[in-house]
């Protein structure tokens, strides 16, 4: 089906978007939510299971204290109120990703509610309302087999692995976000990025979108100015920051084309496709009553006492936005420079590189230069580019010690990214160290002078600028491993200029 989509500018001129985000975060606890099974990522199928997470008769869940604490800390970091008393709820549905035929979640009594997160978009602060933060359990993984495509349609059976079933999952739901206009896709992205940073700073999850420990559903609706909010769709399978932005934008375009043609938006789940950037229709959304929520009888209510909550609040770390402000001052960066550091996802990397001994300027140069370019080329996040802050600091140390020049350092960095070892190892193994042996250098200089007598004459007669040609020749014979400044000084000394 091909339909011509309207231009984005026209869409935002005629319609106002309202967006909302539901984010699921897998907590990095040692054990699952209701049992002592480990939570490590990966692992052979069904090796991290027990009677509780398999829903076997007679087993009873007991809540993980660390997960409750982590959820309260997330709530506090998002300026939420913490429920004085709340219950878990049983969400009934029949699908084999949960062996119990229900998921333990929270319904009308979330652990944390009514907060906000301030997010910076193009230098402007946007306050995103947080509706609720609640705790539930993750589901198992189903593999559809027997069909030609490996997808759910056409499959004849499903194979289920329950290693992930029961891992604590925190759901963070925003209030509807109106009034962002053309910036809606960027606001959505900035919110998820900020939320990820906040949660990472709390140390409660590794929040890696590519591994699924942070997953995002994006709600989008459009209305004409002055009219009521439109019908929303929920886009699932949005697994990178870039996809969050693309999913909102593509859904705005699609809905606008439907509305412009006099059609109506169906309330439904849509699936985002990373390759095309489009969404396609999923099932029609079941209503909440179909889940027949009721208070979970196997778990007693939670009543976090105020002293405990106050203690958790007092122990919150410095939050990313404030930390960024402090770092910007420490590093002496302009707003614009700081923005580029933030946009590149390099704040923590640079901070760690500085802690490992590099100057802020040098650390920033490597992370925003070579390494950002590399990350963009290979389509990975900067943190996953293959170099660590300690390695970058070590590399810069070699430059500062005069052992590597800029060009050689870049070659060494390529080796680091390729996994060849530490900068010092690569420099030694590949014999990349700057030639500092003056004897060898003098020989190379003499050779260059002998090969270029006219240039040498010019320099002797006072045209020192001509030395550049000889420096180039020496660099060539030393395979770039000489320090250009030293070479230049040697040439001038040899020619008495």
């Amino acid at each position: 089906m091909t339909t011509t989509l309207p231009a984005y500018d026209e869409v935002v001129a005629r319609f106002e978007p309202v967006i909302g985000l539901e984010t699921h975060v897998e907590l990095g606890t040692n054990t699952k939510m209701w049992c002592g099974c480990p939570t490590d990522f990966g692992g052979e199928p069904n090796t991290r299971v027990c009677p509780v997470c398999l829903g076997l008769p007679g087993s009873l869940p007991v809540a993980n204290k660390a997960a409750i604490e982590a959820t309260i800390r997330i709530g506090l970091a998002l300026n939420c109120s913490i429920a004085e008393w709340c219950r878990f709820a049983r969400k009934n549905y029949f699908y084999p990703d949960m062996p119990k035929n229900f998921q333990i979640s929270q319904y009308d009594e979330p652990l944390c509610f009514d907060g906000y997160l301030d997010v910076e978009v193009n230098g402007e602060m946007v306050r995103i309302g947080i509706e609720r933060v609640h705790l539930e359990e993750d589901t198992g993984k189903t593999l559809h087999v027997g069909g030609a495509t490996g997808r759910i349609h056409g499959a004849t059976e499903s194979l289920v692995d329950y290693n992930r079933a029961g891992i604590p999952l925190v759901e963070i739901v925003t209030k509807p976000i109106p009034g962002t206009g053309a910036l809606a896709p960027e606001v959505a992205r900035a919110y998820v990025a900020e939320l990820r940073d906040v949660i990472r700073s709390l140390g409660v999850s590794d929040v890696r979108m590519e591994e699924g420990s942070l997953r995002c559903d994006v709600n989008t609706s459009l209305n004409r100015p002055g009219e009521e909010w439109g019908t929303r769709t929920e886009t699932k399978n949005v697994n990178s920051l870039r996809s969050v932005e693309r999913a909102v934008r593509s859904e705005m375009l699609r809905q606008a084309s439907v509305l412009e043609a006099g059609g109506r938006i169906t309330q439904e789940t849509r699936h985002f496709h990373e390759d095309t950037g489009d969404t396609t229709s999923g099932r029609s959304k079941e209503t909440a009553t179909d889940y027949r929520y009721f208070p979970e009888p196997d778990l007693v209510p939670l009543a976090p006492d105020t002293a405990w909550v106050a203690e958790l609040k007092a122990a919150l770390p410095e939050l990313p936005r404030l930390r960024r402000k402090r770092i910007q001052q420490d590093w002496g960066l302009s707003d614009l420079d700081m923005q580029s550091v933030v946009n590149a996802g390099a704040v923590e990397l640079i901070e760690a590189t500085v802690a490992a001994g590099a100057t802020p300027a040098a650390a920033r140069k490597w992370w925003l230069g070579e390494l950002s370019r590399r990350a963009n080329e290979t389509g990975v996040e900067l943190a996953d580019v293959g170099a660590t802050p300690a390695q970058v600091a070590e590399l810069q140390g070699l430059v500062d010690a005069g052992k590597l020049n800029d060009k050689l350092a870049r070659t060494v960095l390529e080796g680091v990214v390729a996994g060849e070892g530490s900068p010092t190892e690569i420099m030694t193994n590949r014999n990349l160290e700057v030639v500092s042996d003056t004897g060898a250098l003098t020989a190379a200089v003499d050779e260059a002078i002998a090969a270029n007598p006219d240039v040498a004459d010019k320099i002797r007669s006072g045209k020192v600028a001509a030395a550049g040609a000889l420096v180039g020749a020496v660099m060539k014979t030393t395979r770039g491993q000489a320090d250009a400044k030293t070479v230049r000084e040697l040439i001038l000394a040899r020619l008495g200029a």
Partner: protein, 101 residues
Amino acid sequence: MAAISREEVAHLARLSRLAVTEEELDTFAGQLDVILQSVAQVGEVAAADIPPTSHSVPLTNVLREDVVRPGLTPQEALSGAPDAEEQRFRVPRILDEDVAS
């Protein structure tokens, strides 16, 4: 008036993935109706000052330390499964059903 309609029973059966015949729908609708009416009678004696009870034991905050405990081997886990393949539970295909989140 009946507390539950035949259509509601059919809807519940669909949500529960139960194949219920036309005759069974009538039977179950009647039976469920009796149950619901009986529960409604209890509701009549509950005074406004008595909050609904979800838990009969007055306990809160029963929590567990975050410590790994041994579970089942995959063989044990799959021993009660009707079918297994590749160390996974094998179930009939599922068509456009809901996935919880």
